[in-house]
């Protein structure tokens, strides 16, 4: 899967479904698919809303490679980038009642490897199909 999509939130679910279909065709178990579903959708929405600032003239590039034991996904927006370390930890007691700030945290905890490149404009995520325990 190697596509470039318009920065349109209506394409979010459709793109996610394409990835899930690809994973199911490759026999990936449903628990792992759930984690990838949440991680991918959160990361893609971050790219569209926070990266590209919901601007319809921007694009998002998505690449997903499925191998025998993992999927490697990259999502790149055209925004200004960001520093993931600058985000507050949403699990601290003082932040539990905050409404936002859980998207990036979920990505980092549901995927096995996550790294940010190109100043935070590109997130690269790997998920192994034999679930690792963190």
């Amino acid at each position: 899967m190697n596509i470039e999509i318009a920065n349109d939130s209506y394409l979010l679910k459709e793109t996610c479904e394409k990835l899930l279909k690809l994973l199911r065709e490759n026999g990936v178990d449903e628990n792992t698919i759930f984690d990838i579903h949440v991680g991918f959708e959160e990361a893609l929405r971050n790219a569209m809303v926070h990266g590209n600032k919901s601007m319809p003239n921007k694009k998002v590039k998505i690449n997903a490679q499925v191998t025998e034991d993992h999927v490697l996904i990259s999502i790149e927006d055209e925004g200004d980038g960001f520093d993931p370390k600058s985000l507050p930890d949403p699990t601290l007691d003082e932040n539990l009642l905050r409404e936002g700030g859980r998207g990036v945290y979920l990505v980092e905890h549901l995927m096995d490897e996550v790294r940010y490149e190109n100043g935070g404009r590109r997130v690269v995520m790997k998920k192994y199909f034999v679930k690792s325990h963190k």
Binding site: K13, E42, R45, P90, L96, E99, L106
Partner: protein, 110 residues
């Protein structure tokens, strides 16, 4: 998204069916806002038929809890699937919410 609402002994029970995500969160909020406007002080949200919750859905549930607490209302969540419960555990929201094991236990825990 389907939301069924029932009053049981002064407790408002919201049974959700479908995903709670960026598309359906406004519907969930709107439904609960009616109860909050009416100052309902005992609310149960049954998530037994909810298979997927994203960060928007979690944010909506947190907002509902905050609004309820604003006038001393209490909220219980129940029937979370293991996958959805996993999201609450990862985000530590299981510490914030009162999560009951089954609707009857939720109703009896006020």
């Amino acid at each position: 998204m389907q939301i069924n609402v029932e009053e049981k002994n002064g407790i408002s029970v919201f049974r959700m069916e479908g995903d709670i995500d960026i598309n359906t969160s406004p519907e969930v909020k709107k439904s609960l806002d009616q109860a909050i406007s009416a100052k309902k002080d005992k609310i149960v949200i049954n998530l037994g038929k909810v298979g997927y919750v994203d960060s928007s859905g979690l944010a909506t549930l947190v907002e509902i809890l905050k609004n309820l607490r604003g006038y001393g209302g209490k909220l219980k969540l129940t029937n979370l699937s293991p996958k959805v419960m996993g999201l609450f555990e990862i985000t530590k929201l299981n510490k914030l919410f009162d999560i009951a094991d089954g609707e009857e236990n939720a109703l009896n825990s006020f």
